[in-house]
Amino acid sequence: MTDMYNKSKGYHETPEEIEYELRAKVGSVWSGGRLFIGMYTFLLASLAFAYFYLRTANNGLLWRPHNVTAPTAFGWSIFALEALTAVLAIYGQWRLRKGVVLDWQVAVWTGVLTSLVALFLQIWETTTLPFFPGSSGYASTFIGWIVINIASLVVGAYWLETTVARSMRMRKELGGDSPELSSAATARLFRANVASMTYFWGFTALSGALFLALFYIL
């Protein structure tokens, strides 16, 4: 019996097995996307914890002397671009579900652009801060937020770009005209990935709103 295993190279899968493993794969992409958001929540929660901890402690009255604030125009622009990207991702997914692949591609390419502009603004803002990084607790946590937000934007832009680039290579599967093509394995995996990506952008926009409130408004 063992000999048979050793001789067989590669897969001899039954259609059922292929279908079973595909479902597992789709499920993995789905639950992996959610778990990733869960991890990201803990990362952001750590920053929020630092914010509230230092704010409450106010050591040496140096939480936020003179009520210094990071450039508000930057903050609002970056958040607006993040929100716009999220809306574009959601809109794109809606059009994709309707089968209008071109709309999806245009929306997501625009999303890539807006997220990169947001990234650029976020980096630019760093050079225009009216305070020194170590001048106060607020300044420190704000630098922390800049780094984490840059990471979110890079991850988000990468995710947008890779999905749309993939979609251009698999026009045939995403054609939507013939049902058996759009139910191909690659197409199903692709849609699961898009769903996770859209969730991530919604999450990024929400967390962006939270930290906008913390750092620029309050």
């Binding site: 493993e21 993995s28 750590s46 890779t162």
Partner: protein, 654 residues
């Protein structure tokens, strides 16, 4: 529709198109020296390190405080960052992420034959598992040598062997390297290797993330030792803040090293959690999942959710030391308590990251060697989940004397003591399984029984520590040191040894030598206890941790402990000798199922084919019905005659 209901006839390989195929051969898998492997990773890692160091100096070298101090933490940070990126580039971890930007499909990776696959970015979870075995043993061996150095210094109550700076460097490296190793010691090698086999899956959900987790783990080893040319770091593994801010550039290696290892931990936990949720074979319902898989699932949940906090804490520390923020500097609006809170919010779940897989292995092994079903399976599984949940709510017990809000103390005393209830379940399970058993004292069983002995002492002393009035005396002393060595080394490491002796025959096809194994077990068990038990007394008599001088009247106990520690070190050499002897010098072919285990991982062929199972098995029961007459087979492997019992799981494959 179930697969089991009626197996369709096999379809020829050529007529079935695999879901993903592009026909391009990945760089990682090309033959010869032109491909990507460990060698290219080392070369590019060094190049990246040097480039980053140069870049860091270019960017920050003009600041007066850097020129005046002669220390440039930013240059060290850039060096390590680019070093790790170069390492990943060299090993081939970035091939697919870059190709993805151009919309490419993953490469169809052909198998590299022979030993060279162990030095590559490999997508086979079994190869990654074996890579991890070597990796954690490397960590363990290095950390163990450092421990020998610590005990050598403590032979004498005054400083005699190392200068105080060197001694602190050794203590810090020992603690950090061991903690990093211990987070992965079971999840990495045995989790990666056996979880897919135990749940009847042909592969991991995200094999690239899995391979990434291993190679970044190795990078973390290099990063943490990159502190040595800079005088190490003086903070111990806890890295408390003002000292961290005060320390030299070696501190960057600690902060960045934990961030790097943290990425590995998150990646490993993420992949394993998703795999367990999605890739279970048909019929592998939650009440049939092997208990080891439950423990790994609980661990993976902690790894994914707790580690981001460590990552954030490390990021803030790096910003403090490079961008001059003041997260942990009280004088400038930060707080040293912020580090303590963030660190322990990760740090306490981490303790259970280290404990839970050990429980899992022991609970998995006991039924095999007692020939009895696992006692109270559901209690065991819920205990693991309970420990994982509660572990997020106990972190302040590390801060009882720190001057933090005292009114929280009763609450954290309560949660800490509550966590001993689900932890105690493992004893209930063990004792129930042993009841009127037919115990076979093979080496894995001996190690499993030793865990109960050691962990009991570790657990009971943990209750002492959680009691605030007693904590006043034992906090920060040798008592707590001995306590966590009893839980981590006496628990986790003994379980790891049990797992290795138990599963190595399946992993390598070779049996470990029993005689040498017996010697190894008894020396390790005896000298472990002789090393660490006196430390409880040393701690009660007032010796703080991480000191190189101590009261003269404690020399006898310290010397006793040191000499036992050296013998314990010899016991590990005995293990390596056994490993070499049984694997290479005089290999003995292992039977397909040497322990007569019912586990699914033993049902597949030996050696395990690359795709694990010829047919996806259909699971019918949990793997614990030892000595139960008329129990159905564990699974329909789909290769031979139809299963004896015609009942099928009835669950749909989805």
């Amino acid at each position: 529709m179930t697969i089991s209901a009626e197996r369709p006839t096999e379809v020829a390989a050529s007529s079935v198109t695999p879901p993903v195929q592009s026909g391009r051969v990945g760089w990682t898998q090309r033959p010869g020296w032109m491909s990507q492997h460990l060698g290219t990773a080392i070369v590019l890692g060094i190049v990246g390190y040097l480039f980053g160091h140069w870049l860091g100096h270019e960017i920050t070298g003009d600041y007066a405080y850097i020129q005046n101090s002669g220390q440039n933490s930013s240059a060290n940070f850039f060096a390590l960052l680019f070093g790790v990126v170069g390492w990943l580039l060299g090993i081939g971890a970035l091939n697919y992420p870059v190709a993805k930007l151009f919309g490419r499909e993953p490469n169809q990776e052909p198998t590299v034959e022979g030993w060279s696959k162990y030095f590559r970015y490999t997508l086979d979870h079994k190869v990654v598992g074996l890579q991890y075995v070597v990796g954690v043993l490397l960590f363990m061996f290095t950390g163990g040598l450092l421990a020998m150095a610590i005990r050598a210094e403590l032979l004498n109550p005054t400083t005699h062997l190392f200068g105080p700076g060197t001694y602190i460097e050794i203590v810090s490296e020992h603690g950090t390297i061991m903690m990093m190793m211990a987070t992965s010691i079971i999840v990495g090698p045995l989790g990666n290797y056996f979880v897919p086999l135990m749940i009847g899956s042909r592969k991991m959900a995200f094999p690239r993330i899995e391979a990434f987790s291993f190679w970044i783990f190795v990078a973390g080893y290099a990063v943490i030792f990159s502190a040595l040319p800079y005088g190490g770091f003086p903070t111990g593994w806890t890295g408390y803040a003002p000292l961290q801010t005060q320390a030299g550039p070696g501190m960057i290696s600690y902060l960045f090293g934990f961030a790097v290892i943290g990425m590995g931990m998150m990646a490993a936990g993420f992949n394993i959690a998703v795999t367990i949720i999605n890739n279970r074979a048909p019929g592998m319902t939650w009440s049939r999942v092997p208990i080891f898989v439950w423990s790994i699932l609980a661990t993976a949940a902690l790894l994914t959710l707790a580690t981001p906090t460590l990552f954030a804490a490390g990021l803030f520390g790096i910003l403090d030391k490079t961008a001059q923020t003041a997260f942990y500097v009280s004088e400038h609006g930060g707080s040293s308590y912020l580090w303590e809170n963030l660190f322990w919010f990760f740090g306490h779940p981490e303790v259970y990251i280290m404990a839970l897989p050990g429980f899992g292995i022991v609970a998995e092994i006991l039924p095999v060697f007692t020939r009895k079903p696992l006692f109270a399976y559901k209690v065991a599984a819920s205990g693991m989940i309970g420990v994982a949940l509660l572990s997020f709510f106990v972190w302040q017990h590390h801060l009882f004397q720190s001057g933090i809000n005292p009114d929280m103390r009763p609450l954290f005393m309560l949660t800490t003591e509550l966590i001993s209830i689900p932890t105690g379940f493992i004893f209930l399970v063990g004792m129930g399984t042993l009841y009127r058993a037919k115990i076979r004292f093979e080496i894995p069983m001996l190690f499993a029984m030793a865990l109960f002995f050691n962990f009991l002492i570790g657990g009971v002393t943990g209750v002492f520590l959680s009691d605030v009035p007693v904590n006043v005396t034992v906090h920060g002393g040798f008592f707590v040191l001995s306590h966590f060595h009893y839980t981590i080394m006496g628990g986790l490491l003994f379980a790891f040894m049990a797992g290795l002796y138990y599963w190595l025959p399946k992993m390598t096809g070779r049996m470990m030598n029993k005689k040498l194994g017996l010697w190894h077990f008894w020396t390790m068990f005896i000298f472990f206890n002789l090393t660490f038990f006196p430390m409880f007394i040393i701690g009660l008599l007032g010796q703080p941790r991480r000191v190189f001088t101590y009261a003269k009247n404690l020399q006898g106990l310290n010397d006793f402990s040191s000499i036992s520690a050296f013998l314990l070190g010899l016991s590990f050499l005995l293990f390596f000798a056994n490993l070499m002897y049984s694997m290479y010098i005089k290999p003995v072919k292992a039977p397909a199922n040497p322990w007569d285990s019912l586990g699914l991982e033993w049902q597949t062929a030996s050696p395990i084919p690359e795709y694990n199972f010829e047919r996806i098995p259909v699971v019918m029961t949990d793997p614990y019905h030892y000595s139960e007459v008329g129990a159905p087979p564990v699974a329909d492997m789909g290769t031979g005659a139809p299963p004896v019992v015609s009942t099928t799981s009835g669950s749909s494959p989805a």
